[in-house]
Symmetry: C2
């Protein structure tokens, strides 16, 4: 956390392309890795999120109760989704660190990276196998093979990059301890595959041990991150070892590149927003035969039957969009994503990925009105957790605000109060909706979705209210005859937005 | 095309964030639009591509022949996909131009942009309605309403940005003709909605006219682009009007921002690569009951039945990945994406989006062996068109190489020959495969997919071969006792890759 150079690789890439270095570098077969990394981020975020589809496609027939067996089926599918999400984020974090070491790429590295991506995209299938056949060890065996293959490709990438040192991050390239770095990096890379090798062995004769080891592979980075962070808060930061690790960014505990955190998050939000319309297009186009027979040829009548679905779609899109908006606003003020912030971001994204489930839960109402309350509760819970973890990112950032936040968002900054209100809006709204389901005996979904659609206006209203409140707070001391603060009295949101820039452009 | 400043807005954004301006700008409520644009690119590329899913999910039962009715159904679904793809790319291009005018955003603009995205994501549903009920005008009416809504939101964005001029692109902000610009931009934005308004009117009493007008909205930008390009090549570039348009980037015929073309393409490639595994996870996890009854509990036996699917998956992923790789290599050498290049890129991406169809076509073999040849032909055709349009981008860029390409990729440049070989590989390979289906009476899918998986190695081999050929070409004159060229004799691929950079890092 105290290593100030880690965001640099990403910054170098951007800086280089904008000051024209790109022109020269393309000439010798090496390439800036910027675009390859964005592509990898897009792929990984989609893979992480797309496994929510089998969950939402769980077929709950109308005559069935929302009973134990369905709950169990749903629970196992949700487990697959969460496992995929967690392992893909672990792989993504490892990928991020790897390409903080490897600063440039050439054709061979680009192809190796594609091979790595291909293996990662195969992981969800192994999870599907594991969950469908929990007592057949084939799924876990395949999973372990994939992890070993990924490790092998990553080791190849590291070996290749150290063999052609001009591909490395300039800091490592110039270092005298290059061989030491290489060994250290390879050791970190081989952690997961080694555990999986043992697990693959166990899967052949005693598979429960394999599950245990697999859980270690998935959760170890999170547990170790959380533990080291807690230790950091309790005991104070560990003394870094003297010589080699001084400028060392390949470390499970260093901050992640902010650009890549943003790109990965964008991918998750984009795919979640899109899964919704895919469901609509596949399920809610009425069958021509049905229209002829049931609705005597009236398409409008047929569509109005799935009217709640459309309302749910717009409500859910508004929710996803606004959660993205809050995330975007938050990261606009973030300078550096430390490891606890990255962890909280992952947790928030895991719940965002669950939003299609919320959509399906609430849009299935028309069929099962007696579960209405329970389903609105599930939706509220998902939205609440997605947004509260965003809020937690902000709180965590405030703990080290000097390092992690822009000046305007720190305590007392211009945007601080508004940021607070923005991030608190969704947790409060979802809690409120949850509470109202406990009080009311019946809750209309239409109201729930209209509430979702109304939230954007709440954001705009919020801006006005916060400005107003700040203006009043500033005006109060003046009314009490204290000297006015240095800023001129803000006249309203319009003046306030425009004034800092007006001198230049107007 | 002769306006050198158009890639600047995107460049400014990157440049600013890398030299630390971001710190200052976040303070006054305005924000750099970079991340919002990436998010929009991701959303739009996913929406454009995801409509291939209903095509691939067309249920062809084993006992059915691949007959006329199925072909018709498939054709209509492909039509929906292509229409969606084209309209979304039109919307994307309009969005790109819009945010070349609006240089910065604030919260209100971000929310308006989300509203715009929400309306665009609803378009595929209207197409589904149109195709399922071609003689009910409701689909076209909804489509027109969406286009009008999008136009209204875009007009709001323009109005808002011109009301707070510090949000505008600095060139327009400083211009004396700002009001003129605003009128001009609004006029361009209202083209589509105006046509759609008329179409919506017609849909109420004479819907075929609506379809005609809708086709105009979708194809007009393409036709007008192609026409103006042809005219440009035949007559020479048009004289730009004297006063106001000198620095004017909001023009249907100016070059697109290279960053956004890359981001949009990345999104398409990423989602196509991911759709494949989604199908695998949903369709190829065997049913526990089946395994117990048909395969006497052996999961391996059950899985090996869908073995061809896995081979097809890896083959298709390799194809998508390598087409991305070729695109990435190409755009590495591209400085500026002119309008014909953008058009060719769109066409290439439309066929890339069709690759899941190729996957489904070839992986369905096991069920219908008698159609094998025809299906391999469809796959080859899709791959051929996707890659030949990439090749065409390159040829088009070469026509104006001084403007569009980096020096190393121009005629006689270091990378020219290799670039040529890289882009020619897929068209040649797919033509070869197509030709062999015409000669052979039976063609094994396994061979086809193994060929697909082997192509990455062909890329690496190609590099060696091109280097070797160049080395021989250079050595020949020396053997004929002519003075050697200025460069030292290349010793092999390794020396060649490293040498230009060695003096500095090694």
């Amino acid at each position: 956390m105290s290593r100030p150079q880690s965001p640099e690789p990403a910054l170098n890439v951007q800086g280089a392309s904008s000051i024209g270095l790109g022109d020269e570098d393309a000439a010798d077969g090496t390439q800036h890795s910027h675009r390859m990394l964005s592509f990898s981020d897009a792929l990984l975020s989609i893979i992480a999120t797309v496994m929510i589809l089998p969950v939402t496609h769980t077929d709950i027939s109308p005559e069935q109760e929302f009973d134990k067996s369905i709950q169990k089926l749903l629970a196992t599918r949700i487990a697959v989704y969460l496992m995929t999400f967690l392992i893909v984020t672990v792989a993504w974090a490892a990928h991020t660190r790897l390409f903080q070491v490897v600063g440039k790429i050439d054709d061979t590295l680009a192809l190796l990276n594609l091979a790595c991506m291909m293996t990662i995209t195969f992981l969800p299938f192994t999870f599907s196998l594991m969950v469908t056949f929990p007592d057949v060890p084939l799924g876990i065996f395949l999973f372990c093979m994939c992890v070993i293959a990924i490790g092998a490709v990553q080791a190849l990438i590291v070996g290749y990059a150290f063999h052609f040192p001009h591909l490395l991050n300039p800091q490592i390239q110039r270092s005298a301890h290059r061989a030491l770095y290489k060994r250290h990096i390879l050791r970190i890379i081989f952690h997961g595959p080694a555990l999986c090798f043992v697990a693959a062995g166990f899967s052949l004769f005693f598979y429960p041990a394999s599950y245990l080891l697999m859980a270690t592979v998935i959760f170890l980075p999170y547990v170790s991150k959380a533990a080291s962070w807690c230790r950091g808060r309790l005991v104070g930061p560990r003394e870094p070892p003297a010589h080699s690790l001084e400028f060392f960014t390949f470390d499970l505990h260093g901050p992640l590149s902010k650009e890549r955190v943003e790109a990965f998050s964008d991918g998750v939000y984009a795919i979640v927003a899109t899964l919704l319309i895919l469901d609509i297009c596949e399920d809610n186009v009425p069958d021509p035969k049905d229209v002829r027979e049931k609705f005597s040829g009236s398409l409008v009548a047929a569509l109005s039957e799935s009217g709640p679905h459309f309302l749910a779609y717009f409500g859910s899109f508004a929710t996803v969009g606004l959660l993205w908006f809050a995330h975007h606003s938050l990261f606009l003020h973030v300078r550096k994503a430390t490891q606890p912030m990255g962890l909280l971001n992952t947790l928030s994204l895991a719940f965002v990925g669950g939003l299609p489930l919320a959509y399906q839960q609430t849009s299935a109402f028309a069929r099962q009105p007696h579960d209405e309350l329970e389903r609105v509760r599930v939706s509220c819970a998902i939205i609440f957790f997605a947004s509260i973890f965003q809020f937690a990112i902000w709180t965590t950032a405030l703990l080290q605000e000097g390092e992690t936040l822009q000046p305007s968002a720190r305590f007392g900054g211009q945007e601080h109060a508004f940021m607070f209100a923005k991030l608190a809006l969704y947790p409060c709204a979802s809690l409120l909706a949850f509470a109202s389901t406990c009080i009311l005996t019946r809750f209309s979904t239409a109201i729930f979705h209209l509430m979702q659609i109304a939230v954007p206006f709440a954001f705009l209203l919020l801006r006005l209210l916060v400005r107003l409140a700040l203006a009043i707070l500033r005006a109060l001391p003046r009314l009490a005859l204290r000297p006015a603060p240095t800023r001129p009295a803000p006249g309203g949101p319009r003046d306030d937005t425009c004034s800092p820039l007006l001198p230049a452009p107007c």
